[in-house]
């Protein structure tokens, strides 16, 4: 498909009139004039319409992408965020003009605190990784206020890559904690690694293997007994919201991904929102500003020991509107039922995929990991090949090669918004793919066959580095 920069010149629409008063423009010394394509609106519309046909969203089909919680994004949430009273307010408007917005943030905060079992919240985080950074800075500030410089963050070897990356960015040293035979945290290793230099343990629960960390109470006790804190990576909250609250199981800091658990759309890679929830003893360290209320009016305030500012204004406000609409719709019951249905869907699909796609025995939470190692050893068909074959069936592939602790991993997370019929169809497609892989392994190497491109050369992309049309 042609790039915008390759289209024939056409007549653009007139979107704004020239300023009516005569004001002279000086010579700004600009020697290199800006050149952008001149295109008529119809050409622009057709261009993006064509591009959108080669993109794939939740509305286009099954999206069982593990760890990413690609659930359906209700349309009403978009309409709510687009209301003029939310869309057209200025971040630096007087507080009396934005009481509705502040009230919404306050109300969303109360709901998320209740769901996570925590006491205070910041909405500054623009995404999960940003939330992690904020949470870790809060932990750092807490220890510093107690006169302690704790340098280490413990991270399970099955953790999301953002955990160690955020820890490093917040100025910590990362220590990996090995898993035990059942993919949980190895308690002996944890006890050995926990010392007075450990600032916190970062944990995802359910784990990235889709299993509930059943030793969570013991883990919390081990970390807390050495003065360390427990950090909850909220990527997998969808499995347990309304059933278990991280705060009740010993977590001190929790970040959420509103673009996962609370149904705000991913937008092809953002904007998300990564609010950070903390227990009362950490609330003074939250980034500023936070929303406070005397019950009648709402305003911004700076916590006394705040780690500072971490985002330009107050976070991704429109995303907060969508998440709030979602929580209002579901209510207490709907939230729990959504989690239960997500877990049921995962267990149903997990069993439907047996025996071709082996996974850990027993029940899983909202996601499960299959290993294609046996197939690869048998005839060379890899997890990647299976994923690419799924594309031809109109299914978005699962997360591949993660967690790193499982070989040839494919991580499925159907979410609660996939119907039984859709799961049956996914399972049927997977069985077909498997038998095709047994019959003609070499044919798997050229999949997908039905898309506009197939198996782009990533090595060449990194070597030639063509990153703009002009380069």
């Amino acid at each position: 498909m042609k790039l915008l920069f390759e289209l024939e010149k056409s007549r653009p629409s007139e979107y704004v009139n020239a300023f009516t008063e005569d004001v002279a423009l000086p010579d700004f010394g600009k020697k290199i004039e800006l050149e952008l394509p001149e295109l008529s609106e119809v050409e622009v519309a057709r261009h993006y319409s064509a591009l959108s046909r080669t993109a794939f969203g939740v509305d286009d089909g099954a999206y069982p992408l593990g760890s990413c919680t690609m659930k359906y994004n209700p349309k009403i949430n978009e309409a709510a965020a687009a209301l003029e009273g939310f869309r057209d307010i200025h971040p630096l408007a007087p507080e009396k003009d934005v009481q509705g917005a502040l009230k919404l943030m306050y109300g969303l905060g109360e709901a998320l605190k209740e769901i996570t079992g925590t006491d205070a919240i910041s909405f500054a985080g623009a995404a999960g990784a940003h939330g992690e950074y904020i949470g870790l800075r809060i932990i750092k500030a807490y220890h510093a206020a107690r006169g302690e410089t704790r340098r280490k963050i413990l991270v399970p070897d099955s953790a999301h890559g953002t955990n160690p990356a955020s820890a490093a960015m917040a100025g910590f040293e990362v220590v990996n904690v090995p898993g035990d035979d059942s993919y949980g945290v190895d308690l002996d290793a944890l006890a050995r690694l926990c010392d007075e230099d450990v600032a916190a343990l970062m944990l995802t629960n359910p784990t990235t293997l889709g299993l509930f960390e059943k030793n969570i109470a013991k883990i919390a006790e081990t970390v807390h007994s050495k003065g360390g804190l427990l950090y909850y990576d909220g990527a997998n909250l969808n499995a347990v919201m309304g059933v278990v609250r991280p705060g009740d199981t010993g977590f001190d800091v929790v970040h959420l991904n509103l673009h996962k658990t609370f149904s705000t759309p991913h937008g092809g890679g953002g904007p998300g929102a990564g609010p950070v929830c903390v227990k009362a003893f950490l609330k003074d360290y939250l980034p500023y500003p936070v929303v406070v209320s005397d019950g009648k009016t709402y305003k911004f305030a700076a916590p006394p020991e705040s780690i500072g500012k971490v985002n330009a204004f107050y976070g991704n406000f429109s995303v907060l509107v969508k998440a709030y609409a979602y929580i209002l719709a579901l209510g207490a019951e709907g939230i729990r039922q959504s989690a239960e249905t997500a877990v049921l869907n995962a267990n149903y699909l997990k069993k439907k995929l047996q025996p071709e796609y082996p996974s850990a025995e027993g029940v899983c939470m909202h996601e499960f990991v299959v290993s294609m190692e046996k197939l690869k050893n048998l005839n060379g068909v890899t997890a990647l090949d299976i994923a690419k074959a799924m594309i031809d069936k109109g299914i978005h592939p699962p997360t591949m090669y993660f967690p790193l602790t499982v070989h040839e991993a494919l991580m499925f997370e159907p979410t609660e918004t996939e119907s039984k019929a859709s799961l049956d169809a996914v399972a049927e497609a997977m069985k077909q793919i498997y038998s095709e892989a047994l019959k003609d392994p070499s044919a798997m190497k050229t999949k997908p066959e039905t898309t506009v491109v197939s198996r782009p050369d990533e090595v060449a992309a990194a070597k030639a580095l063509k990153l703009t049309y002009d380069l």
Binding site: N311, G315, N345
Partner: protein
Amino acid sequence: MSVYFPHTDSDIEQMLAFVGVPDTDALYSEVAPELKCGKLSLAPGLSESEVIARLKALAAENKTYNSVMRGGGAYRHYIPEIVNETASKSSFLTAYTPYQAEMAQGVLQAIFEYQTYIARITGMEVANASMYSAANAAAEACLQSFKPGFKILIAASIRPDTMAVLRTYLDGKNIEYEVLAAENGILEPETLVKSLSPKVCAVYAEQPAYSGGILDLKALTEAAHRVGAKFIAGGNPLAYALLPSPGEAGADIAVGDVQPFGLPTAFGGPYAGYYATTKAGVRKMPGRIVGETTDRLGRRAFVLTLQPREQHIKRERALSNICSNQALCALRASVYLAAMGGKGLRRVAENCYKAAHFALKEFEEAGLKRVYEADFFNEFVTLCPGKSDKIEKALAENGILSGLKLDGDTMLWAFTELNGAMDITLAARIMKEVI
């Protein structure tokens, strides 16, 4: 209650039977009963019509203005409807990060085009897929430009929110930095020269300054380069339709926010930070990057590239922890630029400049005083001792959001193509009456 799972009761029963459990509770057998939370203390769920009624009521508690003369990092521009329409196409809106290239060529090509737009506007060679905000992009640029044993110089004339975010990120890494005085509301080259030394690794300033004042980017960049320091130019990208771009001035990194390109002010976000640099700087550029390649049949294809810099591969040795960024906002910016074209964008920028200069003249006649002499793009600071509150109130009564009160005496005004001459004259007349 609205729930969004599609299962009928009979589906649930069949599925439970297939899994081999009596009820969904049994799926949580690994969770110790004492850890379970019981019923959440949240209101019962609402129907869709109730949800939207509730949110409309909240939205109605916010005041919107016919005319906005406030900026400071968020600008109300005209947004062509095609921007809203394109960004609401569900194949873009509800898509995941384009890791599966074959299923995401539309998203990848749109980002590639965005990168091209940003590179052209900033005059740099490469750009990434977006950052969270201008402030976060500036913080990342400073972190990436830091060398142990060196320090970073930061202009005091930058946006206060950027300054605050820089402090948080740099303090967190114990990076030494020095804030350079704003004389005349901007960073003057002489001020920079006085603080430069071979121990400086980077300089950060914004074009235009928070005060609206225009900097001599070329002189600043040359001064920084003379001591071997990198120059990081923050700024409003719309200004580069008129002013020399960071690339033309020789800057090493350009950052800022694309909010003026088709993003509503929306109480501060989501917007999208941009990050552009030279070819030489590309391996130190954080965030996602789309590159062009060919597929197995030789067709042009787009992929996420240079992933080994990123957290999911490098973990604690990654350049940055960023993964999700502001892709849909970047898409909005691209559609805006595609619709506007170069001439349209230049007209918007000219209107901003002209409206602001017309306003200054009118406001001076009304009795406000200009604080800084430096020429400005679309914002300026006025002085009117003790009158800021009164001005804000009087204009609000007439549907105009005034300039931002910096204190009781001074205000920061911003103008865009949506501020017509009549609008400005009306504001001047109202102010004349109250001061």
